[in-house]
Point group: D2
C-alpha cells in the first residue's frame, strides 16, 4: 500500500492555520498559570499535536518498512516531541507482529558563541556521528521530523 | 479567584466551528480503517476533545466546591465521554488536598417505542432517581455536561 | 499464529498474587483522599491493570481474527474497564491495516428484588439480545472478559 | 504540611522487590518483539513506573513548595523518565491554583575516555552550571530523582 505514487500523502503540508482563523478561546482549555494574562487565544491545542504525532509515527514506520531506526533528538526543544514520538513508535511496534529496533541519541546545535555568529552550525554532544552512516536516522527537532535517509520530511 | 463576575467564563459557548473552516486534512491524523472513503476532513480532532474534557473537569470541580458528585451517564452515547470526564475528575482530586467523592450511575433515555413517539421521554435503568434529591448530579450525555444542581451547562 | 496448541497462553491464569506478598507501600502511589486511613497497602497498582488491558486487547484481536465485535458491558462495575479495553482495541486497529468494527452495548444484571433473591439472574437494559446471535460478543464485567463466541476467557 | 517530621514519607525506600518474588508472567503484558526469547518474567511492569512517577511529582511539588524548578536531565538514560516526570509536574500545576515554573536542561556524564577511567566524572553539554546556584535543581537520572536543593532523594 505504501509507495504507490498516486496515494503518497503530502507530508510536507502539515497543520495549516488560515489567516482568518481567530484561534480557540482560552476558556476552552487548561494551560499553565504563568501564561495567564499573556495569552489571547490557542492556535494549536496540545491534543492536536498528540494526534498528529500518532499519525507521524505510523507514516514513519510505513516509510522505513519497519527497519531499525536511530532517532537523533536535537536538544533542547525537541526532547518532549521526541519522547512522544518514540512512545507512539513503540506502541505501534509493540502491538504489531513486526520487529522494529529504536535507539535514541541526543545532540545540541550551536551557531553562536558569546553572541558572535560562528558562521557554521556546531554539533555538540552525541557520540561520533560517523557511526550513523548507512542507517535510518530520524532527526527530531522542535516539532519537525526529518528522515535523513530518504530525504523525506514529516511536519506536525 | 473564581466567582468574580467579570471573569466568569462563558461555559455555554464551547468549541465554535466557523462556516468557512474547511476542516483538517485526513492525512494529518489516524482514524479507523472502516471510515476510509467515507470521510472528507476532520472538524474536531480527538485530542481537542481530550483537552476540552480536562478543562471541563477543572471547571466542574471549581463550581461545585469539591463536594460529592453523583454522575449520571446517559447511555449509550455518553459512556466514553463519561469515562474520560471521571478520569480527569479523579486525576485532579487525587493530586489535590481536597476531598471529592464520585459515584457513577447509568440511565438510558427512550422516546420511541416501535417507531411510535411516546410523547414523553422514558428513563430506563439506573436506581430509583428519587435518591438523587438534594445531591450534586452531573448528567453526562454525548459530549454535553449539564450540572443539574446549579442549572449551569458545560459543553465541549 | 493463534490457535496452535503448544504456544497457547494460559489466559485464565491472570495476575496471581502470592499469599506471602505484603503489597506495595501506600507512599509509593497516589490514591483518592477519601481512602486515607482505610488502606494498608496496594496489591495491584492501577498501572498494572492498564498494562494488562493492553495485552488483553491484543489477545482478543488475535483470537477473533480482526472480525467485528459486539462488546456487551455489564454495568455498573464494568464500564471503566470496558472503556479502557475499547480504547486499546481501537488503538491497535487504528494503527494496523486490518478492519475491525466495534459496537458497544450495555446491560445490567439483577438477581435480587427488595432484598429477595429471585432465583434467576435478570438482564436489564440493552436492546433485544437475540440480535446478538451468531456474532462475536465480548461480555465485559468488572475486570473479567469473557468471549462468548469461543467460550474462551480472559482475565486481568 | 510538608516538612513536619512525623509525616515525612520514607522516600528512599521506593519499590522493593522481594527475593522470593518470581515476577509477573510474560503473557500478562505486551513487550517489544525484539525481547521475545530473551525475557523470562517481568519484575516491574511499565504501569507501576507510570504510577510511581505520578506520586513522585506530587511529593516533589509538595517539598519545594511550588517554587520554580530547574530540571537537569542526565542523558541518555534519563530522558524518558524526565519527560514523564515533567508531564506529571505540569499536569498537577496546570490543575492547581499555584504557580510553578519549570525549565529543563540536559547534561551527559562521562567517566571513561577510550576505555580509560579518567578518575573524575566529566559533565558534558548543558549551559554553564554556575547559573544554577541558589536554585531548586532536580537532577533526573535513570529512574532516580535527586533534589539537590534539599539533599533529599526520591526513588522510583
Amino acid at each position: 500500500m505504501a509507495g504507490s505514487s498516486e496515494e503518497a500523502p503530502d507530508y510536507g503540508r502539515g497543520v495549516v492555520i488560515m489567516d482568518s482563523w481567530p484561534g480557540y478561546d482560552l476558556d476552552l482549555f487548561t494551560y499553565p498559570q504563568h501564561y495567564y494574562g499573556d495569552l489571547d487565544y490557542v492556535l494549536i491545542p496540545h491534543g492536536i499535536i498528540v494526534d498528529r504525532i500518532e499519525r507521524l509515527a505510523k507514516d514513519i514506520l510505513k516509510d522505513i518498512g519497519y527497519c531499525d531506526i536511530v532517532i537523533l533528538c536535537v536538544l533542547k526543544g525537541g526532547y518532549k516531541f521526541c519522547a512522544d514520538l518514540v512512545e507512539h513508535l513503540k506502541n505501534i511496534s509493540r502491538n504489531s507482529d513486526r520487529f522494529v529496533s529504536m535507539k535514541v541519541d541526543f545532540i545540541r546545535l550551536k551557531s553562536y558563541r558569546n553572541d558572535q555568529s560562528m558562521g557554521e552550525m556546531q554539533i555538540i554532544g552525541g557520540h561520533d556521528l560517523s557511526t550513523l552512516a548507512g542507517k535510518n536516522v530520524l532527526i527530531v527537532e522542535h516539532i519537525c521530523v526529518i528522515n535523513e535517509h530518504g530525504k523525506e520530511k514529516y511536519r506536525v
